[in-house]
Symmetry: C2
Subunit: 484 residues, 2 copies
Amino acid sequence: MADSQTNSAWATLLDVGRPAGGGRRLHDRLAHALRTAIRDGRVTEGAAVPPSRVLAEELGCSRWVVTEAYGQLTAEGYLSARVGSATRVSWAPDPPPRGSRGRPSRTASARPPVRYDLAPGLPDLRAFPRRRWAEAVRSVTGSAVHYDLGLPDPAGHAAPRETVAQYLRRSRGADASSESVSVCSGVTDGLVRTCRALRAEGIGDLAVEDPGWGRLRDAATSAGLRVHPVPVDRDGLCVDDLARTPARAVVVGPAHQFPTGAVLSPARRAGLVHWAREVSGFVVEDDYDSEFRYDRHPVAVMQGMDPARVFLLGSVSKTLSPALGLGWLVAPPAMAPALRAANPVAAAPPVLDQLALATFIDRGWYDAHLRAARRRFRTRRDLLVATLGARLPHGRVAGTEAGLHLLLYLPDGTDTRAAVRSAAAAGLRLADLDDYRTAPSARRALVLGYGNMGDTDILPAVDLLRRVLRTPPRPHEGAHPAAP
Amino acid sequence: MADSQTNSAWATLLDVGRPAGGGRRLHDRLAHALRTAIRDGRVTEGAAVPPSRVLAEELGCSRWVVTEAYGQLTAEGYLSARVGSATRVSWAPDPPPRGSRGRPSRTASARPPVRYDLAPGLPDLRAFPRRRWAEAVRSVTGSAVHYDLGLPDPAGHAAPRETVAQYLRRSRGADASSESVSVCSGVTDGLVRTCRALRAEGIGDLAVEDPGWGRLRDAATSAGLRVHPVPVDRDGLCVDDLARTPARAVVVGPAHQFPTGAVLSPARRAGLVHWAREVSGFVVEDDYDSEFRYDRHPVAVMQGMDPARVFLLGSVSKTLSPALGLGWLVAPPAMAPALRAANPVAAAPPVLDQLALATFIDRGWYDAHLRAARRRFRTRRDLLVATLGARLPHGRVAGTEAGLHLLLYLPDGTDTRAAVRSAAAAGLRLADLDDYRTAPSARRALVLGYGNMGDTDILPAVDLLRRVLRTPPRPHEGAHPAAP
């Protein structure tokens, strides 16, 4: 009877009635229950498990179920069976089991919801062309030949490379071919690949714009380069200052510099390429925001001026969505071997997405989307500038009439950091120019992005901005002040 | 009249009639033509372009068209205009323009087409569930909330992380939660992220299986780790040999080692985790081919034995398609901060693909696909083994009844390298075991993959194999011998 009680305890321990764990069949459920009991330390190392006949009776199942479960756990190393001896538990969880195991008790910080998004970096997510994108994916998923579903070319599928090359020649004046274009997951990915190739070519130092996008600095650093900040003024990167750094390569946003909004002047464009020739170096052109110019026709890429010295990076993150993870890299033909060799485990974006992008462009849907977006953003920018002028006369708007963001300079001494904090507490996302500088400056400014916001939200958002700029914030201000 | 002749030459040079280049409007076409002429060196630096009125007459267009085009090229740095002076070309292509610029004249090596694919690494691409995958993408593209289309979480979207965690708990016996799972682009990506985190934790040496998958070694090296080969025998990784290396971490394929096909024995599973505890190190479990076991129920992952010491890597590359670029990484909870910090620019796969995977699993389509694939591959493996036994009696098949590949040992002295070459010339893809070893061995073997081939192709493929193993290859053998 003692035996029976012991085994009764086993039956309770091995609660196999619940189908939640480990499959549908009874022997799977039994194996799962026993495995869990061993992992939890409820059945300890060295303990004998009941003979299969006994446990089967106890559980009211066939003996086969138990031997299957025991066999499974023996294969997994939790049990060991020796001929002529009892089957025993051969595994123990790591002591002490507390804290280091199990799920972390992450209590999400209770952030107030974002009501108005004036932070830069996003296009209009509500205007993502869902129907056409889904149609492009459906179409290519049906029509792709089966070997397109095999191991992908790290530089991208041939068809989207050709389509992107055509697009860049036609719309951006680039010198691009399917051989010089790689499809990658975005500008960051493209920059990592480029930096690794530069390093393989003996270039260990890269100049970056200051202020600039921190992620580009991170990408370069993570690829093993040292970065050297170079100032940006209203004509873009201060090209003459490059000589003060040991860099033989520079990453630059000539079309619409982030975050200043400057466009690289004609003289500096030429000067930058001349610099690259003189130092036998390279320019990495981040074609950021180039699709959206409202005052004039977009300026062609610098890459066309010297395709042997200029890498070109672009993506659909600011035109369609960063969630698509699709971009491109145009490399000097002579750098193709270094690019391949320095990135042995680089992976192209999913092939079906690449093919969908090609279809989306080939059918004219990308151009149509850009035209509509350009009209939408131009109107929105004009509205934001007018509203800022009317409600915040002390602010001064800077940046070319282009892209998805502008700079709002504020009187010296404005506590922009506190303003960003108070705004966040009130549901308004903002960005401080200092966040993009390598060192803080006395010239205070906010970087305002108007891509991801409705036109009707601009007035209340600016009014909220005026309020947080006026009110000095109290420490630990409440999360929900009065609605605007 | 001289003027007119000169300008006539300009009109010829600037052939704006062809609408191919640079947009639809006439001033775009003129700018494109002039830009191209400057880049090609046909119009040289310092040359004055005709006054806008003159060129407009010559081209038969409005003067506005010419001033627009000139203005565009001035902004791009190709022309410069000074008040009271002619507009001049201010740009010159880099001398010498030959060779270093333009498209590389890549003549694709004329490879014979692949008729039979017996190389390992691919699932059955013809069986990719196109309709259901397209339906999953369509569904999530319509239903995703708009902020899911914003900046993606580098660790993956919350919903697919939860779905993958459930799947791994249910089907693989893993200890996984949405917090410990990251969605990544595959096993290579997961290993790179893991290795970077290990390095940040002070672990600079990683043991790898020998023979093993070279891409895993490349991933570890590219993340800055030193790799140390450790032998594999018929019980899997020789765990005792780990002590001879300085490694405190190891990457291992317990379910079905590639390329030997060994399954890690129960004693070694336990021994490996004990080793990790002793050296305060980590096991990185590559759950390769685990879905396809034909002789018994799949063995649960080792990760469940000690989730604080075992990283788990998996993907759909061998079950659905490598072209999807979707995988997962389960990390010890205590390693989450290091994982994040060491991978500042890591990008998750495209969000819509992640959401599609979650839908594909949640609707039961993944399980259904695996069940059908298991039946298909089991039949195909049996057929291949039987055919090899009948046609190649000198070969010996090794490897557990699992996965998508097997080893074919051949008599000592067989020139497997030459056989692979001759086979390729005859349209049969093969892989030599030596290609996965860090040093050649006297024991000759081929790694045969049967994932990506039709059942009816097995007999002709094996007959072709028999032929290339019999015939010593001639140097520079012709690409197309007689059909089998």
